[in-house]
C-alpha cells in the first residue's frame, strides 16, 4: 500500500483531503494535518489529487 507524504511548508490546512477521505486525513485542533494509515486507496488518491496546494504526494 502506498504512503502519503505531506509537505508541511506548503500545506495550509484547507481540509479538502479530509472531505475526500476523512478516515485518513484529519486537521487537528492546531490546524496541523494528521495522516492515518490509508484504507481506501481510491479515496486517498482522489484526496491527494484534490489538494489545492499540491502538498500531498503518494509514494509507493
Amino acid at each position: 500500500m502506498s504512503r502519503v507524504v505531506v509537505d508541511r511548508e506548503v500545506c495550509m490546512g484547507a481540509g479538502v483531503c479530509e472531505m475526500e477521505a476523512p478516515e485518513v486525513f484529519e486537521l487537528d485542533a492546531d490546524g496541523v494535518l494528521q495522516v492515518h494509515e490509508p484504507t481506501d486507496p481510491a479515496a486517498v488518491e482522489t484526496a491527494v489529487r484534490a489538494c489545492p496546494t499540491g502538498a500531498l504526494q503518494l509514494i509507493d
Binding site: 490546512g13 481540509g15 486537521l27 485542533a29
Partner: protein, 425 residues
C-alpha cells in the same frame, strides 16, 4: 430560453457595465466565443472615479489557463489587488482584500491561523447550528407568505438570512448589528450597482464608509472578547498565535470584513441562483427532492452553475508564458471562473445543469493554489442543508417573476427573485 444574438469578437467589452446586466445565456455565449477564439482577450479598464486608470487586462477563459495561473502564485501575484481591476492604494487594498489580496509569506502565516477555525471537524460541530438556522428561516418565509399575498422574495426571505445568520453566529455578532452587516456588505460587493450605491461619483466614499462601520463593529467585539473570551471565531482570532505571533488589530479587522462580506454574498447568490436553476430545470428539481443522496454532487453542480464570484485578478511578477504565449511583467489577468466552469475541454455538455455530474472539478471556489476558498466546507454545508430543507418544507415554491440581476462584473448575483408558495391557496 430567450433568443441569444450571436456575439462578435469586436463588439465584446467586458468593462461595459451593461454587459453584466445582460441575461446569463448572453454572457455565456460571449465567454464561449472568447474561450474558443481569443482565450487571453485584452480589454481597457473601466473608469473608477478618483482612481488612476491602469494598463488594461487579459480575460482568461480557459480552464487550463485559470489553473496554471492559480497554482503559480510566485509568478502570478495577488498582492497588488485580487478583487479590483484597478490598482487600489495599498492600504485600501489590504484592508478590503485581506488574505485575498496578499502573497506569501504573510498570506501563509495568516491563512494558517484562520484555517484552524474552518476545518471540516470544526464545521461538523456547526451542523446543528446551520440546520437550526435554515429551519427557522424556512418557517419564517412560509409564515411571511401566508400573512401576505402568498409570495416571497427568494433573495431577502431565504437566500440572504441563511449565510448572514450562520456567519454572524460564528463571529458572535449581536442581533442588533446584523441589519447593518447585511447592508454594508452589500455596499462593499455592489460593484457600484446604481441601486446599491446611488451616486457613481461616491462609489469610493460609500465603500470607505461601509468599511469603517464594519471595522468599528469588529474593534468593539475584539475588546469585549479579549476581556471575556467565548467559543466564537472572534475570540479565536484575537487569541490565536502562530509561531508566537498574534494577528494585529488591523489584520483582525480586515479579516472580519472579509468573512462577513465573502461569507454572505457568495453563499446567498449560490442559493438564490440555485433556486432559479431548479425552477428552470424541474426534472432536476424533482430528482433532488426524490433522492437526498445526490446532495453531495448536486451542491457542486449548483456552485459550478452559479459561479457566484465571477473573477479574481492576478498580476505577473515577471515576464511569463501561458499556453505558449508570452506576457510581460505587470500584465493583469482576470480569471473568469464561470467561463472556466463551462469549458468543454473539462466539462462534458457544459451548458447542461446535471445534479449528478461526477467528477465535477469546478473552480467555483477558486482553482488550485493557496487562495482556494477558506469557507468552501461551510458554503457546501449551508447550500446542502438549505436545498434539502427547501425540498422538504417548500415543495410548492414556484418562481413567479423575472430575477433582478446585480449589475456587477465581480459578483454574479441576484437582488430579487419573486416566488409564490402555491400550496397556500
Amino acid at each position: 430560453m430567450s433568443s441569444v444574438s450571436t456575439p462578435t469578437l469586436d463588439a465584446i467589452d467586458l468593462s461595459d457595465r451593461a454587459f453584466w446586466g445582460a441575461p446569463p445565456e448572453q454572457r455565456h455565449a460571449v465567454f464561449d466565443l472568447l474561450r474558443r477564439e481569443s482565450p487571453f482577450a485584452f480589454f481597457a479598464e473601466p473608469v473608477v472615479p478618483y482612481i488612476p486608470v491602469g494598463p488594461g487586462y487579459h480575460a482568461v477563459t480557459r480552464y487550463a489557463d485559470v489553473e496554471a495561473i492559480s497554482c503559480q502564485p510566485a509568478l502570478f501575484a495577488s498582492g497588488s489587488g485580487a478583487v479590483s481591476i484597478a490598482d487600489m492604494p495599498p492600504d485600501l487594498n489590504e484592508f478590503y482584500g485581506s488574505l485575498i489580496s496578499m502573497d506569501d509569506p504573510r498570506h501563509g502565516k495568516i491563512r494558517r491561523i484562520v484555517a484552524k477555525a474552518f476545518t471540516p471537524r470544526v464545521l461538523e460541530g456547526l451542523v446543528g447550528n446551520v440546520q437550526a438556522v435554515v429551519d427557522d428561516v424556512v418557517a419564517r418565509a412560509r409564515q411571511r407568505a401566508a400573512d401576505g399575498d402568498g409570495t416571497i422574495d427568494v433573495v431577502a426571505d431565504l437566500a440572504a438570512p441563511i449565510p448572514l445568520r450562520v456567519i454572524c453566529d460564528m463571529m458572535g455578532v449581536p442581533d442588533s448589528d446584523r441589519a447593518m452587516v447585511l447592508q454594508q456588505s452589500n455596499v462593499v460587493l455592489s460593484g457600484g450597482d446604481p441601486e446599491l450605491v446611488e451616486d457613481e461619483e461616491h462609489v469610493v466614499t460609500a465603500f470607505l464608509e461601509a468599511g469603517e462601520l464594519l471595522a468599528g463593529l469588529m474593534t468593539r467585539l475584539a475588546v469585549e472578547r479579549r476581556a471575556r473570551p467565548t467559543d466564537d471565531l472572534t475570540t479565536a482570532l484575537v487569541t490565536t498565535e502562530v509561531d508566537g505571533e498574534r494577528l494585529t488589530s488591523q489584520e483582525i479587522a480586515s479579516f472580519f470584513i472579509l468573512l462577513l462580506v465573502a461569507g454572505n454574498e457568495t453563499t446567498r447568490n449560490a442559493i438564490s441562483q440555485g433556486v432559479l436553476a431548479l425552477s428552470e430545470h424541474p426534472a432536476e428539481r424533482d430528482r433532488w427532492a426524490a433522492d437526498p443522496g445526490i446532495t453531495r454532487t448536486a451542491v457542486e453542480e449548483v456552485v459550478r452553475w452559479t459561479s457566484p464570484i465571477t473573477w479574481m485578478r492576478r498580476t505577473a511578477t515577471q515576464d511569463v508564458e501561458l499556453s505558449g504565449r508570452a506576457f510581460p511583467a505587470g500584465s493583469k489577468f482576470l480569471l473568469f471562473y464561470g467561463a472556466a466552469n463551462r469549458d468543454p475541454a473539462v466539462f462534458a455538455d457544459p451548458h447542461r445543469f446535471d445534479l449528478t455530474r461526477d467528477p465535477n472539478p469546478h473552480v467555483g471556489f477558486g482553482s488550485r493554489g493557496p487562495h482556494f476558498c477558506l469557507g468552501a466546507h461551510l458554503a457546501r454545508r449551508e447550500i446542502g442543508v438549505a436545498f434539502q430543507a427547501f425540498a422538504r418544507e417548500l415543495p410548492d415554491l414556484e418562481v413567479c417573476g423575472e430575477p433582478a440581476r446585480l449589475q456587477s462584473s465581480f459578483v454574479n448575483g441576484l437582488k430579487r427573485l419573486p416566488a409564490r408558495l402555491t400550496g397556500l391557496r
